[in-house]
């Protein structure tokens, strides 16, 4: 039992261990940022590497916690993204007065996401969801003296508290209707009675809030714009990925008897999400806000994959999130370097950047091509598998709308690429000196974007995990 506990909960325990190390560092004599930051990066790398060893499947605590090879892989994606963020944002992190607290809160959120992915019970799911969102609201406020940062944190905490209130109301009605909160016991008790449908709609709305699906997306862009870029990238990559994974588990395993209901909901919401995300991204001038709306549109594409309801949908979403980690982090990393050293954040400022910063321009271009889904990059294959999975229900007009949305998104991603490579500007961004670790992370992201599309065994591996 004890060894089982140690091995099955290995990833959570490692993260907890790192949190405690940071806590003791914080309590003890302060360490300078220059020495603390490499230490944290090393710890996060260990966390990522340990995820590949001693993997075992099993159930703990009477079904509250369960782990499978696929969940381990999903958690590895999240650890990788966290490690990349710690490499990319060195410039901003070094200047911070509270480096240890920043990672304390960020890793608490990561721990929450790990438990959320492994949850086998609505109580466990709710607790871990709160652990995953409350610390993020706190770190969104990390630029304490900036007005926009506190505004972003306020919007984040209020909307997440409201959405968890909705989630809880849904759970309470579901408990009243079925008498259980266990994921394994629930599906047999779901019979589609009006009370259960009502509860399900509440749960679905809460998920939509957390994933920023369209009618519930209003806080997303503001939070992304106001929060420090390290937090924004964490929020848009790690948090979105984790919630997409648990959303699939909830729909495919728990609410399988209601498949007809959620298929129709997903189709409508997905079309709305893609359209609104794309159309609003068209008119953005601020680069972070632009990426926020583009990430809303990407969530719309993830919903296309989820709507398939088959194992192909699950594997396509996991693969897409893996690619999305690399592409989005590369784009955010470039934005972070530029805004940290020059304070420039609008797309107009990026004009003529190729003349002074060819490396950053190429990384940005590859990342945006991948987000848009242009063939040599992995993003194309990610979208291809999502849309193929979505087509399995044979509602072709839905797939046509998704494909049209890919074309709209191509337009605005290429607009940025044009500004970087073709437009001339009197005051282009001066030469940016890239810290070694950020350069390493950008190269890793670039390699990931290019290679993931070519190496077919990655996708085969994910498919083998899903089965």
């Amino acid at each position: 039992m004890t060894t089982d506990l140690l091995i099955l909960m290995k990833q959570e325990l490692v993260v907890t261990f790192i949190i405690f190390i940071l806590l003791f560092i914080k309590i003890g004599k302060g360490i300078k940022n220059e020495t603390l930051l490499p230490l944290i990066q090393l710890l996060l790398l260990t966390n990522f590497v340990i995820g590949f060893f001693f993997n075992k499947e099993g159930i703990l605590f009477g079904g509250m916690y369960n782990t499978t090879a696929l969940m381990v892989f999903q958690k590895n994606i999240l650890s990788l993204a966290t490690y990349l963020i710690s490499l990319l944002c060195v410039g901003w992190l070094k200047k911070s007065d509270h480096l240890a607290e920043f990672f304390l809160l960020m890793l608490s959120a990561l721990l929450g996401m790990f438990f959320m992915i492994s949850a086998g019970n609505l109580l466990m799911f709710y607790l871990s969801l709160e652990l995953a969102t409350i610390p993020i609201a706190a770190i969104a406020n990390f630029d304490l003296e900036k007005r926009r940062s506190s505004e972003a944190a306020m919007k984040m905490i209020l909307s997440s508290a409201f959405s968890s209130g909705i989630l809880l109301f849904g759970i309470s009605l579901l408990y009243g209707a079925t008498g259980t909160i266990d994921f394994v016991a629930l599906p047999a008790l779901l019979n589609g009675s009006p009370l259960q449908l009502f509860a399900f709609i509440f749960l679905f709305a809460a998920f939509a809030f957390k994933l920023s699906i369209v009618p519930f997306h209003l806080y997303t862009a503001d939070v992304y714009e106001g929060a420090p870029i390290a937090v924004t990238s964490f929020l848009s990559v790690v948090s979105k990925g984790a919630i997409a994974f648990i959303f699939i588990t909830a729909l495919y395993k728990v609410f399988r008897p209601m498949e007809e209901v959620w298929y129709n909901m997903l189709v409508i919401l997905s079309v709305a999400t893609m359209l609104v995300g794309n159309l609003f991204a068209l008119r953005q001038q601020q680069f972070k806000r632009f990426l926020a709306f583009s990430s809303i549109a990407q969530v719309g594409f993830i919903l296309v994959g989820i709507s398939s309801g088959a194992p192909e949908g699950l594997s396509a979403v996991v693969y897409f999130v893996l690619i999305y980690v690399f592409s989005n982090l590369a784009a955010f990393g470039v934005a972070e370097l530029i805004s940290n050293q020059t304070g420039k954040e609008t797309i107009d400022d990026y004009k003529g950047m190729y003349a002074t910063n060819p490396f950053l321009s190429w990384v940005l271009a590859i990342a945006l091509f991948s987000l848009a889904g242009i063939p040599p990059t992995a993003g194309f294959f990610g979208k291809l598998f999502l849309i193929t999975a979505g087509a399995s229900k044979a509602s072709y007009w839905f797939i046509i709308i998704a494909a049209l949305n890919m074309m709209i998104s191509l337009f605005y991603y290429l607009k940025v690429v044009r500004a970087v490579f073709m437009d001339k500007s009197e005051q282009p961004i001066e030469k940016i000196n890239i810290p070694a670790s950020a350069k390493l992370a950008l190269l890793l992201c670039g390699a990931g974007i290019v290679l993931l599309g070519i190496l077919s065994w990655v996708y085969d591996y994910i498919v083998s995990l899903v089965k």
Partner: protein, 104 residues
């Protein structure tokens, strides 16, 4: 004398929930919005306990859930109030309309 039954409690809790939602959407003071969220969470607690007592008396899930909800609500309120205090420092106000630099 009439004993209160499940439906009475459910009506109260549904009313509490929607009063909370209404308050959250109409009030402009951040502390009042936080209070509205507390109303929502308390309606959930009421729901859980009522279901536990009247519908599933031999189970304990609902009671445990409501205990955890109370604890998490406290944690959430603590973080939210810290954020509101910081917002007050930079904006000199806790009205949401004043914190509207980022739009559309």
């Amino acid at each position: 004398m009439m004993q209160p039954g499940l439906y009475h409690i459910l009506i109260i809790s549904a009313a509490l929930f929607f009063i909370g939602v209404f308050g959250f959407f109409t009030r402009r003071n951040l502390i009042t919005m936080l209070m509205s969220i507390e109303l929502i969470l308390n309606s959930v607690n009421l729901n859980f306990i009522a279901f536990n007592k009247y519908v599933w008396p031999h189970k304990m899930d609902g009671l445990f859930f409501s205990l955890f909800v109370i604890a998490i609500a406290a944690a959430e309120a603590a973080v939210a109030i810290a954020i509101i205090i910081n917002l007050y420092r930079s904006h000199q106000s806790i009205d949401v309309e004043d914190a509207g630099e980022m739009k559309y």
